[in-house]
Amino acid sequence: MCGINGIFAYHSAAGLPKEAELLATREAMRARGPDGEGAWWSADGRCGFGHRRLTIIDLTEAANQPMVSADGRYVVTFNGEIYNYRELRAELAAAGSRFRTTSDTEILLHLYARDGAAMVHRLRGMYAFAIWDDAQRQLFLARDPYGIKPLYTANDGWTFRFASQVKALLAGGQVSRDPEPAGIVGFHLCGSVPEPFTLYREIRALPAGHTQIIDVAGPHEPKAFASLAATLAEGARHAAPPSELAGRIRAGVLDSVRAHLVADVEVGHFLSAGIDSGAVLGVMRDAGQKRIRAITLGFDEFRNTTDDEVPLATEVAAHYGAEHIVRWVNKREFEEDLPAIFEAMDQPSIDGINTWFVAKAAKEAGLKVALSGLGGDELFAGYPSFADLPRWRRRFRIIAAIPGFGILCGTSIGALAPGLARQQPKALGFLRYAKDWAGLYLLRRGLFLPEELHKILEADVVSEGLRRLKPLKHVRNSVSPDPGSDVGRVCALESANYLRNQLLRDADWAGMAHGVEIRVPLVDHALLQGLSQSMPTIRPGAGKNALAASPVRPLPNDIAARAKTGFGVPVGEWIQSATVQRTSQVPISKGVVSRNWSRTVLHACAA
């Protein structure tokens, strides 16, 4: 995991990019890659790459980046990991490729030389990279199917820029800070900025599972090469019998965890008291990892209460013979770290605090890489949304489809039960949005509803932002093509929205702020492909049980039976006291806390 950036003055009217800008952008990502740095320029000076390196595979300087092919034609700057690089290397070597390093980076050069843009279909991993083809005068960008690794671009009409972070692009000094209303509105709707938007109009994310070509004609429209909904839809067309579910989960998770253990440094683990991280730990052991250091966060406020995850996590660590590190965090440390958290937060997010502290603990333990159970709830139907959304749809879709009925109900609730409207503000919009999957998802995950935005944002920002974002259409795209089953639909909705725009992004900025690579074996496109045929047979609860049973030595029953705890409550209380808009001492709901916190986060990120 690293930080990458580049500048390409593609337009004949553009001047040569400045080295100072390239380096300023690169150095804004110093935390992402504390082990090395590099810069490269094309012979005509019109294209430059920067790289900050976190050494994980091939620790030698020979694997530093940007890396140039032996013939000088191709140059790559790469962030992430290619987990199947050894297989690809063997295949390419058999076909005559000669390698100078043992890195996964070099694979990209050879694979691109052989397959061109189609290379992405061969990659298993989390990645964002750029390859310069000096013969074609062409830049090629790619980002992994789930969007685990970030890649942001900016095009001013003459010059194209890219980087791993929004703030790094801004640090170069040449990218406009004009606000993007769709990003601002999107943050208020979702609690994170939905890609491809950012808070800035000129900066966009290369969408997950997309490639992009930039040549002398400028950037071409990004092209999709993978879609989670399409993968699920394809699987549903060839549905496997329910009897195969447990076996597929066991085999798929083992395969993925094994792939994610590829490293030349120690791979640790983030362990909570949940099923996902516990199962991953068990499978790490099955995959042959002998020494496993597992880190658990403990909160002073929870000591000796039922909310304390430490005892159960300790039990799981002992169950699998892992060295257990418990890192205690308290409110004072949270308050001390808050300025640094906002500084590291690349785009505003209402989450990520837990990840910040667990990554901090990993760094303190000397770990550079850790596996996380992130993604298990999306893949194995762990969220309440897997039960709620289909149920709501069955109950309300017909009545919600009556024109004007939803608006009438919302207005009536607002007038007759103002207390309910304050405590459960989304209740007003329920019937308005319950008519399709996208609306239901917005209700389930939304921070604010679109019609509430005028209370907190300027009218112009709201109207322009909603017009450009088209929130329902945006969400609807994540279930197109139709994944073919209710579980598949919710899986696609959660994975392409909450997981991608919030959880994975939080894992990136919070991990990278400490120079720690967070690997997510349950967020793996190959695993999704393997399970897609069984997705229609997964029932809420059953998927997690199968995951708990997937290690050779299954998770203890008390862990497997434990209800999902969700958001860490002390963090909720801490952020409640840190919000800028706290006006009352009356207890308020978690949703309202999140809303207030979002204002604080946006204020801090925009500062």
Binding site: A13, P219, P222, R468
Partner: protein, 368 residues
């Protein structure tokens, strides 16, 4: 616009305010653009429908300019009539105010739609109809980065479809002495500042007044200055009054409308081309001056940043620093005119322009 089946030789319909036989920067851009399109092997013919201009205009091969119709309704009927009777693969819309009509014509023929944005007309949010038409375009061409940014501010379009094709400079603009003009104007050893721009009361952003206000300070610093203003307009009397009030009337020559063949000499004899405009979509006179070997100075505002290449090719200043910047440039050795001309052409010459137009056509034709 969907449904266009790519053909090797496309037929274009161009809706323009004016082009061949027209005056001003927009007409110049349209001519340059249409010539470049006509030069493409992938284009069979271009039918140009102007609102202004002569009844018969000389146009290059493959280009047929119809007679102008100024009244909107007549123009629209004529455009629809031509569209229905001709094969149309690409509709080029030369001005934002024609966007809804262009969209309709493209829709009628399932043709690709290219929209052209010049400058201030595209900066504020347009009417809903215009915006909707622009958002349906396959390609949006902007003369500058600033205009592109302004369009992206109000248009919900894929950013990759908004492309900068800057103005180009004519082949005639080359360095030279322009001695005869200098003698005929009796300039002697004076330092000549030049502005080429219309003097319209509605376009005071051009900045003539700012230069006039700077001259007393420059004279006080010892610069023996003559300020030449080429162009006409209804704001000229006011500017003349400004000069009188500033007691520098003897240092200003209002040349009126200068014919193109004489304009080159104007640029050649100038020591500095200065146009502190705050509203340029691009500012073609900057590159004409520099292609003629004369350094140029403008404000780092809006589209003017592009011809000046952010100060790499020309010179940029803030409004407060204008007099200081002029003084500095007049005192400094004049840059090599030939080298300046070459550098200007490398960025904005005909070859670069034709290449960009060709790439834009590719982009439009391959749009989904």
């Amino acid at each position: 616009m969907k449904g266009y089946s790519s053909v090797n030789e496309a037929c274009c319909l161009a809706l323009v305010s004016d082009a061949f036989g027209g005056h001003g920067g927009i007409a110049q851009y349209n001519r340059d653009f249409l010539r470049a399109v006509a030069a493409s092997a992938r284009v069979a013919s271009i039918t140009v429908l102007p609102r202004l201009g002569p009844n018969k205009a000389i146009a290059p091969t493959k280009v047929l300019q119809q007679k102008p119709h100024f009244r909107r309704s007549v123009y629209a009927i004529a455009a629809i009539w031509h569209t229905l009777r001709l094969r149309v693969d690409i509709v080029f819309c030369g001005h934002l105010y024609m966007a809804p009509l262009a969209w309709l014509l493209a829709r009628l023929k399932r043709a690709k739609l290219i929209m052209q944005m010049h400058g201030i007309e595209a900066w504020p949010r347009p009417t809903r109809l215009q915006r909707a038409a622009v958002e349906e375009a396959d390609l949006i061409l902007c003369v500058s980065r600033y205009t592109r940014g302004a369009v992206l501010k109000w248009a919900d379009v894929v950013p990759e479809r908004v492309v900068v094709v800057p103005n180009t400079v004519g082949e005639a603009f080359t360095p030279g002495v322009g001695r005869s003009m200098r003698e005929s104007l009796g300039i002697d050893q004076r330092k000549v500042l030049l502005t080429v721009a219309r003097m319209d009361a509605g376009q005071r952003y051009k900045g003539h007044e700012r230069v006039i206000e700077a001259i007393p300070e420059l004279v006080a610093q010892g610069h023996d200055i003559l300020y030449m203003v080429a162009g006409e307009g209804d704001d000229r009397p006011r500017l003349e009054e400004c000069a009188r009030k500033a007691r520098i009337a003897d240092r200003i020559r209002f040349l009126g409308a200068v014919p193109p063949e004489k304009m080159i000499d104007c640029f050649r004899i100038a020591d500095l081309y200065v146009m502190p405009s705050t509203g340029e979509g691009f500012g073609i006179a900057f590159i004409e001056a520099m292609a003629s070997g004369t350094p140029a100075l403008g404000l780092a505002v809006a589209g003017a940043n592009d011809p000046l290449a952010d100060g790499e090719l020309g010179n940029v200043a803030t409004n407060d620093q204008l007099a200081q910047a002029i003084s500095h440039l007049l005192a400094a050795p004049r840059p090599d005119p030939a080298a300046l001309s070459v550098r200007t052409r490398a960025r904005f010459g005909g070859d670069a322009f034709r290449e960009r137009v060709s790439m834009a056509l590719d982009r439009a034709q391959s749009a989904a």
